[in-house]
Symmetry: D2
Subunit: 336 residues, 4 copies
Amino acid sequence: MTRVAILGATGYSALELIKLLLRHPEAEITTLTSRQEGNPSIANIHPSLQGRIDLECHDLGPVAVAARADYVFSCLPHAVTATLVPQLLRAGRRVIDFSADYRLDSAETYETWYGEKHPDPERLGRTVYGLPEWFRAQIRDADLVANPGCYPTSAILALAPLLAAGLIEPDGIIIDSKSGVSGAGRTPKLTTLFPECNESLSAYNVGRHRHTPEIEQVLARASGQPAQVIFTPHLVPMDRGILSTCYAQPRGAPSEEQLLTALRGRYADEPFVRVVDHLPATKDSAGTNYCDITIRLVRGKVVLISCLDNLIKGAAGAAVQNFNLMCGFPETTALV
Amino acid sequence: MTRVAILGATGYSALELIKLLLRHPEAEITTLTSRQEGNPSIANIHPSLQGRIDLECHDLGPVAVAARADYVFSCLPHAVTATLVPQLLRAGRRVIDFSADYRLDSAETYETWYGEKHPDPERLGRTVYGLPEWFRAQIRDADLVANPGCYPTSAILALAPLLAAGLIEPDGIIIDSKSGVSGAGRTPKLTTLFPECNESLSAYNVGRHRHTPEIEQVLARASGQPAQVIFTPHLVPMDRGILSTCYAQPRGAPSEEQLLTALRGRYADEPFVRVVDHLPATKDSAGTNYCDITIRLVRGKVVLISCLDNLIKGAAGAAVQNFNLMCGFPETTALV
Amino acid sequence: MTRVAILGATGYSALELIKLLLRHPEAEITTLTSRQEGNPSIANIHPSLQGRIDLECHDLGPVAVAARADYVFSCLPHAVTATLVPQLLRAGRRVIDFSADYRLDSAETYETWYGEKHPDPERLGRTVYGLPEWFRAQIRDADLVANPGCYPTSAILALAPLLAAGLIEPDGIIIDSKSGVSGAGRTPKLTTLFPECNESLSAYNVGRHRHTPEIEQVLARASGQPAQVIFTPHLVPMDRGILSTCYAQPRGAPSEEQLLTALRGRYADEPFVRVVDHLPATKDSAGTNYCDITIRLVRGKVVLISCLDNLIKGAAGAAVQNFNLMCGFPETTALV
Amino acid sequence: MTRVAILGATGYSALELIKLLLRHPEAEITTLTSRQEGNPSIANIHPSLQGRIDLECHDLGPVAVAARADYVFSCLPHAVTATLVPQLLRAGRRVIDFSADYRLDSAETYETWYGEKHPDPERLGRTVYGLPEWFRAQIRDADLVANPGCYPTSAILALAPLLAAGLIEPDGIIIDSKSGVSGAGRTPKLTTLFPECNESLSAYNVGRHRHTPEIEQVLARASGQPAQVIFTPHLVPMDRGILSTCYAQPRGAPSEEQLLTALRGRYADEPFVRVVDHLPATKDSAGTNYCDITIRLVRGKVVLISCLDNLIKGAAGAAVQNFNLMCGFPETTALV
């Protein structure tokens, strides 16, 4: 059994990760960390875990964590994670980081968008981005994997194949994304209070969302083409799910069928990308590690639609997929 | 125009009250109070009010409020209200209080259930309970009206007629109530965070909800019969609405038709109680000041079902109804 | 009192219309039509109307309707309305039509998008489009008003001022719209069954939605500029509300402030358009006749966001606004 | 591999069953039946199954089914199932029936509540009720198992231990149940249309729900005590989950702790019943095969609260648990 630790174990992504790992025949969760006082049992924090796991959350530092686990999933906030990762790596542990700390290549970009000096800048530009469909080989050997953001996964999986194939223009791409509320986290806030966001829809952080540089950088890295995007996230009154509607200018005059074929070809062997003919709904992939993608050609514009579960393919499922790759387990273990 | 003030103007009941009063031809909102810093415009706090009201919230004491308004609606929390009401009354203002401070007759009961010493005990037992269907005459002349709780209104309107008519036993009444989340207020809390309560249903405060003594006391006062109730509130994933399913033992052997006739007779002239044949849904009364009630006789047990909008008939609408009575305006003004 | 009839009175738009008209001091609903058998009481079809209106639905032809009402609101499906309107107009009645039958100028376009021959083609191109903010003068004198579609209203109100001012390019406009489920009507369908669309989000009719030609035609008519749009509607798990996120290329290099000023200037005197600084949520305008609009400039692209209640400003509220204009009543009667 | 068939494969319970069986290492789904024309692929009916199962639905009779499968799960409606079961059993197949056809002991009771003559009356009274917590031994050897109703499972698991222990009175038990909308099935109906039941709560079939005799009969059989219940189901705006609040008169004067201990003792070894201290929410057991139960003593009345996922522990999960028992597989296979 591979011993794993989860740092910051009380949020929604961590909860989903725990549930996935409880089904994993090769992983044993040995350690959960949290700053909550009194070493609460995780099953008291999340009653859905009652009878399924008997583990307390402790406020542990990297040395203590490294002593108890071989693999560390960090669900800590950005700017916190990068203060702990160096020690974990030095202790020989392999880390999958849910935060944005190691996703960007440039400390300057990080500071611009996250408003903080990066605590561990020398690892930027050298860390593997944990999107298996595009960086599988590097993930296998990595000691540190930057688990992708939920919005970026939905956008990149849809756009990268067409960019790589030179079928769309890399400029002026519009990504209109819609997300369930769990993406906003488990800390009580007025904006995610039930009577505020239920029966309502709104855009937020228009032009200022931190996933923008991540999308652009990874699109470029994955496709070999630079890309410039307009990204507009919206909050939808549902628990989970992201749907991204992407608009791009075709290069040349590809037919809808050609575009669909390019997508299908790129993902033919991927276990968790389903290129579909119909217009997918977020419910189709809710609770799963699938990303569903389709394409339409509308009045000369390419319209890509991509759906996934923000907590699974957009967070915990991708992390387990990365973990499987790093450990040499079958990639779909605990995910189907 | 009658000048009115709203104390604690930023919550959901106050928002609903503002919307109702904006339609009231005889009322002018002159004053809104809040402890929020910076004297925020109420239309910035609630964007739904943009262009409809141009008023700031100020942190004002009772003297300042009394100088600006003839009628005061207090949406402040319990134990706070009762520290301000005496001064407002001494200044000759008439007060409609949304809190529980003046609903109970006994300071001891108050302390038992609310965990605090009552700040103004001498007014207990002498304050009118603002349920127009049962205390209309007293409300007209009152300077202080205790606006009823949302759950109590739904339960009392259903049960009191049958108790008064001696058609049900006063003991062992079960009130199984279900409420939308707005009833829990606008302060961010984990329990009312969208991903926690959406797609979920739970009971809370079983056997310990503070509306229990209020229901019992008012049932007794309204019907002339003491009553003892088991009250179980539940949280439902919807914005607004309360449905109370009440179970009582019939006295004698009344038929379903006799019970329904008793209800109909009691409320024949009431503008806001609809005794219906069908099983009402909370949506039927959502956004209105109606309370819908029906009855079934099931295996010898009386089953009463009562629905209302917790923010309107259960709070702001009842307050406007009381205000109309106190001012001598037509009772339905601004409410239909 | 002005006598009004509502044709096709059992759907959601008609229900909303009834509620608005019940508050209208100058209108009396005399007639409701439906093909449902047994002349059902409208209050039995919609229990929310119990005690508020005592009227049956009858299956009446245009002659019978004309005998009972001066103004006729038709909530019938497209292709049906246009078979009745000519007779109503000949009888001297004035008609506000909720269907798409008289919105388009060309019978050919109608046939292309609606798949049917137009029953009354000679009135196309001569019928007033009932968007008061752009065609107020014509509405006042019209005998037949084509009440706008819900999506078109949200898109046109946002885009037309900037097109008219030459601030955005008329080509390649993207309208990414999100709507609550009531927009899909009250006929039971698998796609709008609760367990299908709850907790889910999906695009539908991508590139094929019938509101596309309506948006283009009216944008051109209102702004004096031809326009070509990519329109993508989405279904959102909420009852009501539309949010349209529109993307356009600026012409020249206007600042965000200049764009916002252009919007504000255009709508300064409009009672039901609120140009706001913040990002509006559909909940802000739910239950009202307001349309909230804001603008952002993102990486050189204009992003317009527009919200309204699809059943009110997107249907019944707009109809009452048109009715007020046609009758010479204050335009906001029954709408604030 | 054990070959299994699912009859009536297009509904929500069948969908959940397919998903569970896809995870089952010993089961192979060989056959899906449906009367839908054109032998549709199940993955086209439920896009969530795309890429997970490649099987068409065919309209097959019992002989054809028996030729293809060893175990048959029937998700057909009541009165249909019992016309097919005899042939399946004669062919030596073992059947798990989701309908109510074999749950009741008496053809007369069946006819009273279901309004139809029972097609296979001689099996009534001899068929095992598939509630493993109470009839495990009989299930193991049964050729036909009547899979329990969702409401009955929630009520019986809570009440039976206390009845069996003589801790509550068997008369006048009130079961106030609340269910998500998936329980109403996948056939489009006005009552389960999104805009009708969203943001609304209502009781339905008060005093007339068909699960009433099932609850009473099985409570008596399980506990050895006759029982008489008042059962009130409610529809809650959520996809899945049942919460039953049960009220009973204690026998003697047991303490809350004694009652909780009795529950805990009874279910100590059960893998899927969690007796908890806190008040459970339906979300805690959503997506799982758990039933969560707690108890409170309120003013001398026993209040039991029980939660489960109506599609899993209330249908497909229970069926797989029964299947595991019948096959001698570990009982929790595919369920944790």
